[in-house]
């Protein structure tokens, strides 16, 4: 190393030599770096780098663009990610949960399962309320949320979704009001003669809510699919709606398992199990049909972690639900089948409420087998929660994978190039946006 009189102006040499430090400074945990490495011009003021690492050891130029198979404009994104944060992820989950719960609530009403009915309807209205609030909160101008109701636009899944959610909310709200009135002994709500009207509307409202329930669970998949975001668009074209309704069934079944008594949640367990099977199958089928560059964001980084976590929870929850189902059938006697009264009368309801809240104190049957009951109930709660969490992780994972896929132009360029070349290979040469003349 040569010396000069200006050496004194140099900053002190870092420990262990520059070269080593430089590597350490730039490497770091591979989270954001993995995709960011391609981006040009990020050598400037990144963490750990500082000015010392900027060509301080010679006038070496920072590499602007790494050599990669595809070309891009300095690795900058081509498609923009929508400004959708966790609120939207939460809504994707809650919308599905609400839709599925409404179906369960309607079924419970028809098959006389008051505990399941109440739990499902409460879940549905809570999910609708929180989900709707999350949607409004995510707007750039929340005070203008009613502008969503200006038009009905078939070409806009968001517009249809608004109307679906609104329609669903009406039926769901009415059934909730009825349940609330029942729980409070038909005294709290100052309804007067309208009480009869309200209760007469139970079945129509439940039907209306159930009518919008499945569209509510499915439309969000189309909403994500009808975008230019590569991973969402590819997923939407390759079966995301199936993933989302399965996920919704799983969430609703799981929530009901956690909230309603074991004896009544047989349908919820089967519903959830169907959902897990559907999601596992639809998800793997969808991934296979997508272009590798479109699937990558679902495997890597935080979205990948979320989706993997969802898989694990799904399996655990499914096993748990299956065990509870088998247990409930084997120990049906011990659990004490509910009094098989013909119709759900008001006197029935009080007992059902007690059961729904989970108090094991209902006399009579409790004496015989409280241990079996407690184990099954506990397992039901845990596996139900796992299923609901799996659904939530799936939704967040898919949402974030899409947002991630916009950050690296590779996910945009490679699939588009591939399909363009494919069409050209088939002899279709007249539909390219780039033309030679």
């Amino acid at each position: 190393m040569s010396t000069s009189e200006y050496d004194s102006y140099r900053p002190p040499e870092p420990e262990g030599g520059r070269r080593k430090r430089r590597r350490g400074g730039r490497g770091g945990p591979s989270g954001p770096d993995g995709s960011g490495g391609r981006r040009g011009g990020r050598g400037g003021n990144g963490r750990g780098g500082g000015w010392k690492n900027r060509g301080a050891d010679g006038n070496r130029e920072m590499p602007m663009v790494e050599d990669v198979e595809f070309t891009s404009y300095y690795g900058r994104p081509i498609v923009k990610a929508p400004p959708w944060g966790d609120e939207i992820g939460a809504y994707l989950f809650l919308g599905g949960l609400a839709g599925g719960s409404s179906l369960l609530g309607f079924g419970a009403q028809l098959t006389d399962r008051p505990g399941l009915r109440i739990a499902s309807r409460m879940t549905a209205i809570a999910a609708t309320g929180i989900g709707g609030a999350a949607l409004v909160a995510d707007l750039g101008r929340p005070e203008r949320f009613l502008n969503m109701m200006r038009v009905v636009k078939v070409s806009s899944p968001m517009s249809l979704g608004t109307w679906i959610l609104s329609g669903f909310g009406v039926g769901s709200g009415v059934t909730f009001a009825i349940e609330l009135d029942r729980i409070t002994g038909e005294k709290l709500l100052p309804l007067g003669p309208l009480r009869k009207v309200l209760h007469a509307m139970e079945t129509p409202a439940a039907v209306e809510s159930a009518f919008f329930a499945t569209p509510l669970a499915a439309y969000t998949a189309v909403l994500l699919g009808a975008t230019a975001v590569p991973t969402w668009n590819a997923a939407g074209r390759n079966g995301l709606p199936y993933v989302f309704v399965s996920s919704a069934s799983m969430a609703a079944g799981g929530a009901a398992m956690a909230l309603a008594p074991v004896t009544e949640t047989g349908p919820a367990r089967l519903f959830a199990l169907t959902g897990t099977a559907g999601e596992a199958y639809a998800m793997s089928a969808m991934r296979k049909r997508m272009h590798p560059a479109e699937v990558d964001p679902m495997d890597d980084g935080e979205p990948g972690h979320k989706l993997h976590r969802a898989e694990k929870l799904l399996i655990a929850g499914a096993v748990g639900a299956a065990v509870v189902e088998v247990g409930a059938r084997v120990f049906a006697k011990k659990l004490g089948g509910r009094s098989s009264g013909g119709s759900a009368s008001a006197s029935d309801v009080a007992g059902a409420v007690a059961e729904a809240v989970g108090s094991a104190g209902s006399a009579g049957v409790a004496k015989r087998s409280w241990k079996t009951r407690a184990v099954l109930r506990g397992l039901s709660v845990v596996s139900g929660a796992a299923l609901a969490a799996a659904s939530a992780y799936t939704r967040f994972g898919v949402l974030e994978a899409g947002i991630e896929s916009t950050k690296d132009p590779r996910h945009v360029v490679e699939p588009q190039r591939a399909r363009l070349e494919e069409r050209r290979a088939c002899g279709i040469t007249d539909d390219s946006i780039t033309t030679g003349r």
């Binding site: 400004p83 079924g107 499915a218 709606p241 946006i433």
Partner: protein, 375 residues
């Protein structure tokens, strides 16, 4: 079919069939763009768009704007390429020309040498100074003569881009494409986005509630929600944060309006008016496409097979764009998608799938209740 600008495919897109106006559009000829960014400035000034960020240097090229966005409606891309890339571009362009169309004689060394070079190119080839630098070509214009600086008919002036063997600079002014099948317009749930009488796509900022669906719907990454944007550099003012500053139309989607406010007054968009090289041309979209076809043929005849058009094909995934570009390399080099497709094209299929999925969910629920019937 009331106006000649509309073809069958566009009928579903809400055009104003009885409009007195023709469809308007840009033709951005990047072969004569000099990267001066006057369009960016004129656009910002006219539309009073806030600045992006904090004047950071991107460090990748002379382009420090980066990309189109809520506050940037014109963006000049700047790319430096070596001879290898130029040859590749020339090759890919040649392939494009040969796709089921009459072939154009590729440029060989002999033909290049035999071709008489004129204009700046010729001057560069012949008149080299001792330092090896090309001299300024003689334009035969006395700049001091009366009327010499008046706008003149430039149609006869040679606009062949200088052909440097070793490297080249690509400069391209990107803008909203005003697609025939506009993804942003299709997915907008509030009706804030609409198609004007000029067949352009414009946001009504007093209606938009900032849901962000259009951002995801644009295959070109043009439209964006204005979540930040500052009038002054935040570092300048300690007393005020950037977020507190007066940002017009904050929280709503923003993009190029093709200067709708100027068009209704019979003027041309600010960027086109200010462009010093006429790289940005504005007019009836049909004329623009015709000009584009002529220009690319002209460049090909000169052996510049890398020239190609972007957005002039009505059969492409977005039905052709209102803003047509002449590019000198693959679109992705400029940050443009190579095969954009309006997202709503697959919508019927997706709705059908969602419908089946929804029915499946009903069936699953029904079976779940049947399967756990109590005896």
């Amino acid at each position: 079919m009331s106006t000649p600008t509309i073809d069958d495919g566009t009928l579903a897109d809400g055009h104003w069939h009885d409009s007195a106006h023709n469809r308007k559009g840009f033709f951005t000829d990047t072969s004569i763009c000099i990267g001066c960014k006057a369009c960016e400035v004129a656009c910002k000034e006219w539309n009073r768009n806030p600045q992006d960020g904090t004047f950071e240097l991107l460090g990748s090229s002379y382009d420090n704007t980066g990309s189109l966005g809520a506050n940037t409606w014109r963006h000049v891309a700047f790319i430096e390429q070596d001879s290898e890339r130029i040859e590749k571009a020339r090759e890919s362009g040649r392939k494009l020309v040969n796709l089921g169309m009459p072939t154009i004689r590729p440029r060989t060394d002999e033909s290049a040498a035999a071709q008489p070079l004129d204009g700046a190119l010729g001057a560069a080839a012949e008149g080299r100074t001792s330092a090896g630098l090309p001299t300024t070509p003689d334009l035969n214009v006395d700049l001091l003569a009366p009327g010499a600086l008046e706008p003149t008919d430039l149609s006869n002036v040679d606009t062949t881009p200088p052909d440097t063997a070793d490297f080249r600079w690509l400069m391209s002014s990107d803008v909203c494409k005003h697609c025939t099948h506009a993804g942003c317009l299709d997915v907008c749930p509030t009706g804030a986005l609409f198609r004007t009488e000029f067949d352009t796509v414009v946001v009504q900022n007093d209606v938009c509630n900032g849901c962000g669906t259009c951002v995801a719907g644009c295959p070109f990454g043009v439209i964006e929600r204005r979540d930040d944007g500052t009038i002054n550099t935040p570092t300048d003012r300690d007393d005020r944060k950037a977020a507190d500053m007066d940002v017009p139309n904050a929280g709503t989607a923003n993009k190029c309006t093709l200067c709708y406010d100027r068009l209704v007054e019979g003027q041309e968009p600010a960027c086109a008016q200010t462009c010093p090289t006429q790289s940005i041309k504005f007019g009836d979209r049909e004329d623009m496409v015709d000009q584009a076809h002529d220009r690319v043929a002209e460049l090909h005849a000169k052996g510049l097979t890398e020239a190609r058009l972007y957005g002039a094909n009505p059969n492409d995934g977005v039905g052709g764009t209102g803003s047509v570009f002449l590019l000198l390399d693959e679109p992705e080099v400029y940050g443009l998608p190579p095969d954009p497709r309006v997202a709503t094209k697959d919508l019927p299929k997706m709705y059908a799938n969602a419908g089946i999925a929804a029915l499946g969910m009903v069936a699953a629920a029904g079976l779940a209740f049947l399967g756990s019937r109590r005896s």
